[in-house]
Symmetry: C2
Subunit: 494 residues, 2 copies
């Protein structure tokens, strides 16, 4: 067995001894892996999960825990929000493109209520409480929140706004323990264990093993430098996460993230993508990225965000991830917050104004003209922006960008400016192209026999846009599909 | 031999009869293909070019013919422009990223003068005349022009401006005959023919043929529905162009171009990329696109371009391809030109104001306020933009975007507005990752033995940005490398 193969597929004929065997072998024990494991086990398969770190969890466990669900989930209903799969689909098509996988979004919306119920049935807790303030996540253990700009311009006029960020009930959130992601992963891995799913840790996959008929029949992995062979009687599921920490892939596919990876774990080295590419797998949307923005939403909503030319460019009351994408991709990462003293004080009094975001203003001035000059903006530029904003704000309107009236107030003085250039970081959304059964698609357009994938090593429901919860959402949804399809694939278990 | 393989590599052992044989087999007879053919033949190889249409030329033949060259070419020197490889590199690094292949750009700049001399030696004519007006191309047969915004903000302050758009001398340009692209391709194909290069037409490659040791040893192609086998004793060069016309790839990789392909030919179906992907080839910058903008540069430079919010966003005197990219990617394809009557009349009098661009204004008004209202922009928005512009234009300055003083004049009345939404179209710049010898790189990071590629089926010197001439430039430059490397590869000719 040669190490020089790298990620190249290894012929099964080379392998005489298998160190491990299972019907379904899953690489990665994050959200996609655990969902696949549960469904594969329920479908009667003997399941083995290979995890490269010392424990289950992946990026999911460390995340906020949002799962993007809707179409009328029991939680939405209990909290008084109307939603339908069609309405959800309308939003997702508008907000997550261009170029989204329309079949996948349709399928995801149609199955969303069932998926919520499934999560609950596995023991994932959701508290019946809604959090309606601007921000990335609720301050306590609330279960539902807007997480994609559904209730902000332009989407509020495209689809009926409904919150779809479903959050597993957190415990001791403020001290960083058992946050939403943990409270999602814990019951799922408990369920998997109770179903007899086996897990082996400290094992990194290296390449796929392929039979003469091109079917994937196992993986070669490494544990502490030693090569290990793992036979998959029915299928292999890749659930190894994004490529946010693979420098060459970032440079080649998503260069705007150079030097700013975030919200992914260092294990996200794209290995699942690369082993499948070596088999001829098709990719999709490799440039797509989630983009976090480290500004306080409670402050942003009360001020105006301007670009490097002093111009407004986005409704400040939208999902902060949209602000991040617009800033990084469309404004060359140039952003400044202009907010008057009164609004700033109000923002800092809110419950979700986090010390994480708190910093002194970069500039403080008695007039907009003075601020403009201090910021080095061309004479008249910021003044013009504020004049136009204030002119309409007098009547609570924002015809330029459609910020909701409740947040529209003229900007007074004294006034502060916050330098928010380079406030972005993100993770990658592109990866393997998969079908609705999570089969990995070859460049021929046909599935690769025996190979499945889910989670951020695949291209999911997002392309150009993002909403919090879509990663754990499509990871768990298509992880389940992968587990079921793999369990029912291939020859009978020997 | 099975058609069900699609683009999957075919084992050489399957093939008992070869319909054609050569040392070096080149797929595609456009710029990259012909450059490869010449250099392979000069290196002593027996060369066969397979072209899917009925004749040589590819997209190159139909193009304007710009080749991006610099660093002090004889043409630059003769016309009084100073340039160095280092200065050229500085510009390309700044303008063509983020995420450019730095090694490739360095190599390309270092070799640029030699490459110009080589083109001249093959009979490509360049007239010693410079064209300095704004526009996509010269009106006559001038040989040199700015073609990437080198002399506009922000690049004019990053590197010493030098024109690098080198144009083969056209003949009868106005009637569409023997334009720059044709005058580039004709002498090159003549040279290839004189060197004994064989060409077979109406042959479409289907897949690569691979020996037991994973070496590429030929291609399977189709001619009028019949499969043809072609043996390559030394190497295969893929030179099949972009994927601008492959709908699934456009949706998956470059969705902003959905419905707007341009400046590429319908044969650009990504086949060269896909056959190599099926072998595990690495890709790069699949989202990158050239973006044409169908506005008259002579008009744009004399007015101001504003986005859907009535804000300026780009120096109007830059390379129109940068305007296209900024409009499509950063302004959601929303653009309007605001120009006063006097400036419009002046623009229409210029020699390069083409009937192609000419159209009546969408709106005409006596005041900016009236125009703003007619355009449906928020009250005060366009007025503020024009006020700030005019305030500085009085002294010939444009501190917001750095348009050069010669083009900065206050906007008077009466004034016209041109709706330039959806004025964009483009072709793709992403593709196979290749090294400096044009070897196709596998996802392991190693070259695939026997496989070379150049032109727009590869990722070349561009990533996020573009300059006219970089496609024919890196296509010809790395086409030559591919031909030389392939000719010197593999076992001795039998």
């Amino acid at each position: 067995m040669s190490d020089t193969l790298g990620v190249r597929p290894q012929p099964a004929a080379d392998i005489t001894d298998w160190d491990y065997e299972a019907d379904v072998v899953i690489a990665g024990y994050g959200i996609a892996g655990v969902a696949a494991a549960i469904e594969a086990a329920r479908a009667g398969a003997d399941v083995l999960v290979l995890e490269r770190t010392g424990g289950w969890g992946g990026a999911a466990s460390l995340s906020g825990g949002f799962i993007y669900l809707g179409g009328g989930t029991p939680l939405q209903k209990a909290l008084g929000f109307d939603d339908t799969p069609e309405n959800m689909e309308k939003f997702m098509l508008a907000a997550l493109g261009p170029g989204v996988d329309e079949a996948k979004i349709h399928d995801y919306c149609q199955g969303s209520v069932e998926h919520f119920n499934w999560l609950v049935a596995q023991g994932v807790p959701f508290k019946e409480e809604f959090w309606g303030e601007p921000g990335w996540e609720p301050p306590h253990d609330e279960g539902l929140m807007y997480s994609g700009g559904e209730n902000a311009a332009p989407f509020k006029d495209i689809a009926t706004p409904a919150p779809r960020g479903h959050l597993p009930q957190m415990q001791n959130k403020r001290i960083g323990e058992q946050g939403g992601g943990y409270m999602l992963m814990k019951p799922l891995t408990d369920t998997a264990e109770s179903l007899g799913v086996r897990a082996e840790y400290d094992i990194r996959i290296q390449r796929l093993v392929v039979a003469d008929d091109n079917r994937v029949v196992g993986v070669v992995a490494k544990r502490y430098g030693k090569e290990i062979t793992v036979r998959a009687r029915r299928g292999v599921v890749l659930a190894t996460g994004s490529f946010a920490y693979e420098q060459r892939m970032i440079e080649g596919y998503a260069p705007r993230l150079i030097g700013r990876p975030a919200a992914a774990i260092e294990e996200h080295d794209g290995i699942g993508i690369r082993v499948a590419q070596a088999l001829g797998a098709e990719l999709a949307h490799m440039d797509a990225t989630e983009v976090a923005f480290f500004g306080d939403p409670q402050m942003m909503v009360r001020g105006i965000l301007v670009n490097g030319r002093g111009q407004r460019y986005i409704a400040e009351d939208t999902y902060p991830g949209r602000i991040g994408q617009a800033t990084l991709i469309q404004q060359d990462n140039q952003a400044y917050l202009i907010i008057d003293e009164a609004a700033l004080e109000e923002a800092l009094k809110t419950e979700t104004s986090s010390p994480f975001f708190r910093q002194p203003p970069t500039w403080a001035a008695e007039t907009i003209e003075e601020l403009e000059s201090d910021m080095g903006l061309p004479a008249g530029s910021l003044q013009a922006t504020v004049e136009v904003y204030n002119r309409h704000a007098e009547s609570g309107a924002d015809p330029l960008l459609g910020k909701k009236p409740e947040w529209v107030k003229p900007i007074g003085t004294p006034v502060a400016g916050f330098d928010m250039r380079n406030f972005t970081a993100g993770f990658t959304l592109g990866g393997l192209r998969t079908d609705l059964d999570s089969r990995v698609i070859h460049v021929t357009g046909e599935p690769i026999p025996g190979l499945y994938a889910a989670g951020r090593c695949t291209s999911g429901v997002c392309a150009g846009g993002y909403a919090s919860g879509t990663s754990l959402g499509d990871g768990s949804f298509y992880g389940r599909r992968a587990g079921r399809a793999a369990a029912n694939d291939g020859p009978a278990s020997s």
